[in-house]
Amino acid sequence: MTRGDKFLLAGLLLIALLSVAVLYGRLSFFPAKTESVQAVITAQGKLVRKIELVEGVKSSFVIRGLGGPSTVETDGARIRMLEAPCSGQICVKEGWIGHPGQTIVCIPGEILIRIEGTAAVDAVTR
């Protein structure tokens, strides 16, 4: 091993450690915005409500659909249709949703609940 090798090795180690410090230090001091998940609710094609789904917060509210009022419930990062006046009850049976891209649709009431946000990774393949 020559002097040049040693300098190169030391230099590379230094650069590696510095870049670790800079990149991950920046991440820990200025963390990337935490993933925000929103539920967007539309009725008859019009936006009626947009709510942040925040962990630990519960709420419920009423959306006026075509067939009458429907009750929507949120619990932390998930949301469901609690009650609906329609006969099929498909939206209620859908249960809780909380992942970006998931939807609950009520055809008779023309209500659409859609989760928006940065999608988490489903799987990693090598």
């Binding site: 091993m1 020559t2 002097r3 040049g4 090798d5 190169l8 090795l9 590379l12 180690l13 650069i15 590696a16 870049s19 670790v20 990149l23 991950y24 991440l27 990693v124 090598r126």
Partner: protein, 177 residues
């Protein structure tokens, strides 16, 4: 073709075969680290040996043919992984050739280290272009650190080979024109 040219062709083909074998075997080994992209870089031994014996153009040919053949055998020809490997091989070969030809202060260890780091940089650059995202550069420190021991090991092996050659002349057949 003259005898010297034929001899060179045969030895280059041998080197390509060895590099391809190493490339494929290496693809079968799974490293017990959760770092996709980190590899031992065994095929780099042959690239550097070719550069040492026959110069830049031969080294480039051997490393590019190794990537193409290895990925054909491994079944990932023209896949994203293939493009990463190709760019990495290109970068490391160029870096090592420049250091080998224009500097004298490095042994094979230093050159191999620079080659390993060049390989990882090239890979990241290709990944950055493929994904259209520079966020992948957060991965740089990981690959830099992973490249240091593997570059060191390949360089050490070559140093031993060349030291052995000085005594016994095992590489002399390659160069006998």
């Amino acid at each position: 073709m003259k005898a010297a040219g034929t001899r060179r062709l045969v030895f280059l083909a041998l080197l390509v075969a060895m590099a391809t074998a190493l490339h494929v075997v290496e693809g079968m080994l799974s490293i017990p680290l959760p770092i996709p992209g980190a590899k031992l870089g065994l095929a780099n031994i042959i690239t550097l040996l070719t550069l040492y014996l026959y110069g830049f153009r031969a080294g480039l040919k051997v490393s590019l043919m190794r990537v193409v053949l290895g990925s054909l055998i491994g079944g990932m020809f023209l896949s994203p992984g293939f493009l990463l490997a190709l760019t990495g091989a290109l970068f490391s070969t160029v870096v090592m050739a420049v250091l080998l030809k224009h500097t004298s202060c490095f042994s094979m260890i230093g050159i191999s280290l620079a080659g390993a780091v060049g390989h990882n940089l090239g890979q990241l650059l290709a990944a950055c272009l493929l994904l259209q995202s520079s966020a992948i550069f957060y991965y740089l420190p990981v690959l830099l650190i992973a490249g240091i021991p593997t570059g060191f090991i390949t360089g050490f092996l070559l140093n031993s080979l060349i030291a052995h050659d000085k005594k016994s002349g095992i590489l002399r057949d390659f160069l006998r024109a």
